[in-house]
Symmetry: C2
Subunit: 447 residues, 2 copies
């Protein structure tokens, strides 16, 4: 008889996993706390946008959902920095055809649930709030909307219920379960720039950034011509959410900090007051599984900050890796989950660190001259030595290189870049076409 599998959480990772396990022939029941997102009326401008990149596409294609998602996604080929003087600077993410893809969370989630739901052996149940798990007997308890409790027994339980995972909160009571939740100093708030006569009001194929040192605004495009904006501010202190308490404070802040964006958001006050201010948390734990019976994947085991655009991609990569391990281990779930958590943990920690580091890059460094110079040198190295120098951002976003390896190689690259950026005439050398011989003569590139 085929194994019965319970998935708790029908978010992005849960519904993708459901499709994979459905495809592999398991009996899959997915339980979700919220109502069916497919029936909810969610306007594009009010849902967070994701940036899908190579790791994400690999997993989506694995379950055959890639093309459905591509139709709803918009390529972003680089960053568009908005200066405080309303100047624009574009910096490409990678080579000419490389891009990360903007897609709304709600839209993507709907596609994935629909996709998994096509399998007869996959079944979704909404408005089921997980309130307890009997780990040894793999029995999950759910509270339904009528306050009834439902008990579901199965062979395996996957906790894909996100950063505030109910499954993990049960595992947290286990002896030897290491866990941390760490909030960063910034909260965020969604805003939006609407389309004008159905047209985009800014460059469509870019991720827009207003880098202001201690804080920033970003905007990602939607197919309807709008942009989903996210404002990141400290929750207390200078230039913080705590300091924006009324119409005039909010307006004055936007006018002085993001003058061009301010003109594009006529309903700023309304959006600011209606949309919640939400915290940003980093989740780490170990082990991720219990006796081959229960495991956590995605944000439930490794929740990160959004600044590398890798949270979803990392969760989707979990699914690709699980797929490979299922090929190797068959139904030996104890071995499979242990190999998964042991091999994956260093990569999860690596992308957690990179994401935090990238916050400083996005909110501060991209607005600085020397940093853009450094990026130009990095780009020249990539173009001159495409096999020997792949920039860290490209490794993370456009390859499936393990995150921990991208960190190691990035550290080596930093040493080279530190040296090159200090050569005053380096940009001239690049422009003259002497870069290759300069770098080789000075033994500045790893083999």
């Amino acid at each position: 008889m085929s194994k019965q599998i319970t998935i708790i959480g029908a978010g992005l990772v849960g519904s993708l996993l459901a499709a994979l396990l459905g495809k592999r022939g398991y009996q899959v029941n997915v339980y979700e706390r919220r109502a069916d997102i497919r029936n909810a009326n969610i306007s594009a401008g009010k849902s967070i946008n994701m940036a899908c990149s190579t790791r994400g596409w690999k997993a989506l294609d694995l379950v055959g959902a890639g093309d459905k998602v591509r139709k709803a996604a918009i390529a972003m080929n680089g960053r568009m920095m908005h200066g405080i003087d309303e100047s624009l600077t574009f910096q490409p993410y990678g080579k000419e055809n490389e891009a990360i893809y903007s897609i709304s969370r709600a839209g993507l989630n709907q596609i994935l649930i629909d996709h998994a739901d096509e399998y007869e052996n996959v079944n979704f149940q909404f408005e089921h709030k997980c309130i307890d798990i009997d780990l040894d007997r793999t029995i999950a308890s759910f509270e339904l909307n009528d306050n009834e409790t439902k008990y579901v027994e199965s062979d395996l339980i996957f906790g894909t219920d996100g950063a505030f995972s109910a499954v993990r909160s049960v595992m947290q009571k286990l002896k030897h379960f290491n866990f941390s939740q760490e909030y960063i100093s910034h909260d965020y708030k969604e805003l939006s720039i609407e389309a004008k006569n159905g047209e985009f009001q800014m460059e469509k194929h870019a991720l827009h950034i207003w880098p202001r040192g201690s804080h920033m605004l970003i905007a990602l495009p939607n197919p309807d011509g709008s942009f989903t904006c996210t404002l990141f501010l400290p929750y207390e202190g200078e230039n913080s959410f705590e300091k924006l308490n009324n119409e005039s404070e909010i307006e004055a802040f936007f006018k002085s900090k993001f003058p061009d964006a301010f003109k594009l958001i006529p309903n700023l006050i309304e959006l600011f007051n209606e949309n919640p201010t939400s915290p940003l948390v980093i989740i780490k734990c170990f082990p991720w599984s219990y006796k081959g019976k229960v495991t956590l994947i995605g944000d439930a085991s490794h929740g990160i900050v959004p600044f590398y655009g890798q949270g979803m991609n990392a969760g989707f990569e979990d699914v690709s890796i699980l797929n490979e391990l299922m090929d190797q281990h068959g139904d030996n779930w104890i071995e499979l989950f242990q190999e998964f958590e042991n091999s994956r943990k260093p990569d999860a920690d690596a992308i957690a660190d990179l994401a935090l580091k990238n916050f400083i890059e996005m909110r501060d460094l991209v607005g600085q001259e020397w940093f853009l110079k450094r990026k130009k040198i990095e780009r020249a190295l990539y173009e001159t030595f495409p096999e020997r120098f792949i920039p860290q951002y490209s490794m993370v976003s456009f390859t499936n290189t393990p995150y921990s390896e991208a960190v190691r190689k990035g550290n080596q690259q930093d040493l080279i870049l530190d040296e090159l950026v200090n050569k005053e005439d380096i940009l001239d050398i690049i422009e003259r076409g002497d870069f290759k011989s300069f770098v080789e003569t000075n033994h500045m590139i790893p083999n």
Copy 2:
């Protein structure tokens, strides 16, 4: 009207705090999950022993309980290391009259509950398990033994319910509440060496250590002539609890690793099988308080490993510091709790690190020649420059120097000791009486 205060947890810190708040005239209700420890029949040999030092005594004296505790405590003037060849090496903790004091947890807890209970305005209720807190309304919910739920409203709630705090688990759901639980690789198990004809079978005034590199056994004296022993082993891998599964494995392990102790524990197998194997966890969180209404103190906010003998002392010091802040802030609890957590957090983190570091010292370094040489030099520095060089262990155990300052000064001392320990003839110099001039000539001591 006097403030109503709820204390959750009648352990060591909870009952000491109850005495302090009772003395200050508050209406105090203490709720404890377990039965009244004063009625429980606990033999000394089966409860963990604490090592009370200066910070502990300061707080005990503050509430007038010091002399009651002194009568039940035994001075330990130093470490007695037991070699694998049954050799003994004694290393004093401090100056001649300096000692840390062995006392059973249960005995101390009984004294403190009795002491607090003498105040008419302090009331203890046992078998009340905290199951929820309404933080904003300061209402605590308790499950009683008959499965009834009791709701208690008060002005202030103190969570003194230890490393697995129920109060903290409610606060963990708050936005911006940082939290981590980290288990170390070792578990522990209590054992005991009984008295023989009412006499101690080893040196009474010492903390006995069998340092074996990756693991260790320790023993602390009790007034009845027995020693409470604790075995610290990794929970898996080589020389671990996982590997000791039957009589012959346990006996062979003890015979080869702790030959002299083995002869003194005739009921080893019985004790080993009866006593639980328990984990060791480090707890960190922040903030510790909520809106001047609820705060965590002791292990609930900063649980540490036992290897510096400072867990209880740090919790008791929390009470001393709260007392000083109550003098300063009166009933402004928001300010008081914020000042408490902001000033105390660096010290809590410092002792957490020191305690972990001391595990390596106890299980490994104290068994090594060069380390004992280093300790002799440290002692010589202390004796020669008593004002300018107070060893870190003495600062932590025999003064009220903030833990974070002890870390800073300890790091400076390490540099000096690193240098001196490499002088081959340094012990000769000390013996010849030339140490003072040698150190001064070489400018090796801070002013």
